[in-house]
């Protein structure tokens, strides 16, 4: 199986590094300084959503039976050679059908560019063997770029550690204390 992006939601501290890295990667200059000065400003395709004391970097799941690909009436939404779903901006007419059928909220409407915005899993970076921009930028190990087998192995190890060492799967950090203090909603 090829690599894809996995999320270990418990580790997210809502630093939004992924959001910035995503916008920079999808800018013309591909540098932070250049991206800031561009008009219209480059848009991110990953959103850190807060739920009570928790946060979660929400993005496209690249579904195998993707509702957005079925729904696209212009052929813009399609699958690339690596099984990632992406939208061809040239073909997109901004009809937003993909936005209203995505059960994950993974496609958003760009009000300025009038094009559907979604994660394309950074084809330029992965072609060079690099991890997608959000994964490379994540400082907490929330976002991982692995094959499903590697991810499953990692989760098994984390569970085994928790069972043997007792307590939590990962070492507690400052966020755990914060979460225990902050009530949900």
């Amino acid at each position: 199986m090829s690599k894809t992006i996995f999320t270990v939601a418990e580790k997210c501290v809502a630093c939004k590094s992924c959001e910035i890295a995503c916008a920079v990667e999808h800018s013309r200059s591909k540098t932070l300084a250049g991206a800031i000065l561009e008009t219209p400003p480059p848009q991110r395709r990953i959103n850190v959503e807060g739920v009570g004391a928790y946060s979660y970097p929400s993005r496209c799941q690249h579904c195998s039976d993707a509702a957005c690909v079925t729904a696209c009436p212009t052929g813009a939404m399609q699958r690339d050679g690596c099984d990632a779903v992406f939208s061809d901006a040239d073909k997109c007419i901004g009809c937003w059908m993909c936005v209203v059928v995505c059960p994950f909220g993974g496609v958003s409407a760009d009000p300025v560019g009038k094009k559907a915005l979604k994660c394309d899993r950074c084809p330029e970076r992965t072609a060079k063997g690099e991890a997608p921009a959000c994964v490379a930028a994540c400082p907490t190990g929330t976002l991982l770029y692995l094959t499903p087998e590697e991810f499953a192995a990692e989760r098994r190890q984390a569970t085994a550690r928790a069972a043997i060492c007792g307590g939590q799967a990962d070492e507690p950090n400052g966020m755990d204390i914060l979460r225990s203090l902050k009530r949900t909603h």
Binding site: A9, E10, N47, E49, G50, V51, G52, A53, Y54, Y56, S58, A67, T70, A71, C72, P73, T74, G75, K91, I93, G94, C95, W96, M97, V99, V100, V101, C102, P103, F104, G105, V107, S108, A109, P111, K114, D176, R179, S180, T184, H185
Partner: protein
């Protein structure tokens, strides 16, 4: 096995592609009443507007039919289906089938208004021919009337305004987009239309269409004469059931199919705009939109080949833009509880609840996350615990997972 597909739209094409992908050997015949290869009808208004080129409408390359060994017969409208002899009649020619897929789609509804049908300068906006007719007529048209304010009517209005025409929009019901919005939300859309110079008249029945030497010259509505050189009739679409006569195929508003897209007649399947499904959330509805056409075509194709597949349920959601303002709507328009959010800059979101479950929603200006709400409606998720977060644009899929994690970190 010989498979005959009536139609050449998204349902027919997705069925043909699925058939070919799963069975290299079957014979596929497609009978199309139009004379052009498969095109997407959804961007036709953009084509009229000029923002989408003609080539972009055609979603398959010129070689598509030959490469997939599909016998495409253009200009072959089917007159009659004869299930007892397993054949269909296209003109004087009989085409035999082992499996038949009816995917002939819907047609624009033309209301019985004197002088409307057949007048020159009167168009629908359902086919490429219609769009090209409108484009030709633009040369002599300065004023236009659009009858009907569904999404085709609104898209046509916008396209004509962008060509510099004076447009009057007539809606027989009490407000615009009556199938998608309640009156409060519709008022926002009306304001948007008026800002862009459209004259909007609601609750206004068209009485008569007057034709002069150069085609349509005026419309009489509510006793007023509205002069125009172009009339777009967008009073809704109806499943095209004329070919069913004498076939014994059961239909109401559309052809009745089960979750496998089978009709009541053996070996005959149906998909796309023409079907009617007893699906949740509303019983027996016709949901003519692109996603349903593609998905039902795919399911029909699998079952025609004997591969058991069931349709998970039609998408009862629609989205339209009015001068770049996005409007999404799904489910019912009035509910027990109405959650509301607005940003003060023109965006309004409403989510309607029935017995603690999402029953419908209307989103104007800010439609991100509409799919998450629509999915919750389809699944019947209990949503009381989300409170007013539900209607906020930041409400996402992750909220539905929150209790699992709260237990873990408690």
């Amino acid at each position: 096995m010989k498979i005959v597909i009536i139609g050449n739209g998204p349902a027919a094409i997705s069925a043909a592609e699925t058939l070919r992908a799963r069975d290299r050997g079957c014979e596929i015949v497609m009978l199309s009443r139009e004379r052009v290869p498969f095109y997407s009808p959804c961007p036709l208004a953009e084509y009229v507007e000029g923002s989408v080129s003609r080539e972009r409408l055609f979603l398959r390359d010129a070689d598509f039919y030959a490469r997939n060994a599909i016998d495409i017969r253009y200009g072959s409208p089917v007159r009659r289906i004869e299930p007892s002899a397993r054949r269909v009649w296209s003109g004087d020619e009989a085409v035999a089938y082992d499996r038949l897929l009816i995917a002939s789609g819907s047609r624009a509804f033309v209301p019985p208004i004197p002088g409307l049908a057949g007048a020159r300068g009167v168009f629908e906006l359902k086919t490429l021919d219609d769009a090209e007719g409108i484009l030709r007529r633009l040369a002599v048209a300065r004023r236009a009337v659009v009858v009907g304010s569904g999404f085709i009517g609104l898209e046509a209005t916008q396209a004509l305004v962008r060509h510099g025409l004076e447009v009057t929009l007539l809606e027989a019901r009490e407000h615009v987009l009556p199938a998608m919005l309640d009156s409060e939300m519709a008022a926002l859309v009306e304001r948007r239309l008026v800002e862009h110079g459209v004259r909007v008249r609601t609750g206004c029945a068209v009485e008569r269409v007057l034709e002069g030497a150069d085609g349509v010259r005026a419309v009489i509505a509510d006793g007023d004469e509205i002069p125009c050189e172009l009339l777009v009739c967008a009073a809704g679409v109806r499943a095209d059931l004329s070919i069913l006569e004498g076939s014994g195929i059961a239909s109401e508003r559309g052809i009745l199919v089960d979750a496998r897209m089978r009709t009541n007649v053996e070996h005959i399947f149906a998909a796309g705009d023409i079907i009617e499904r007893p699906d949740a959330p509303e019983k027996n509805r016709v949901a003519p939109n692109w996603p349903n056409a593609v998905s039902s075509g795919r399911i029909a194709a699998c079952n025609m080949l004997g591969i058991d597949r069931r349709h998970p349920g039609l998408e009862a959601v629609n989205v339209v833009r009015v001068f770049d303002m996005p409007i999404a709507s799904f489910g019912v328009q009035t509910g027990e509880t109405c959650l509301r959010w607005q940003d003060g800059a023109g965006a309004v979101r409403k989510v309607l609840l029935e017995s603690g479950r999402v029953a419908g929603g209307q989103l104007i200006g800010e439609i991100n996350g509409a799919g998450v709400l629509h999915e919750m409606m389809k699944k019947g998720t209990a949503v009381e615990r989300f409170g007013t977060h539900l209607v906020h644009p930041g409400f996402g899929y992750i909220h539905t997972m929150e209790p699992l994690r709260a237990v873990k970190w408690a």
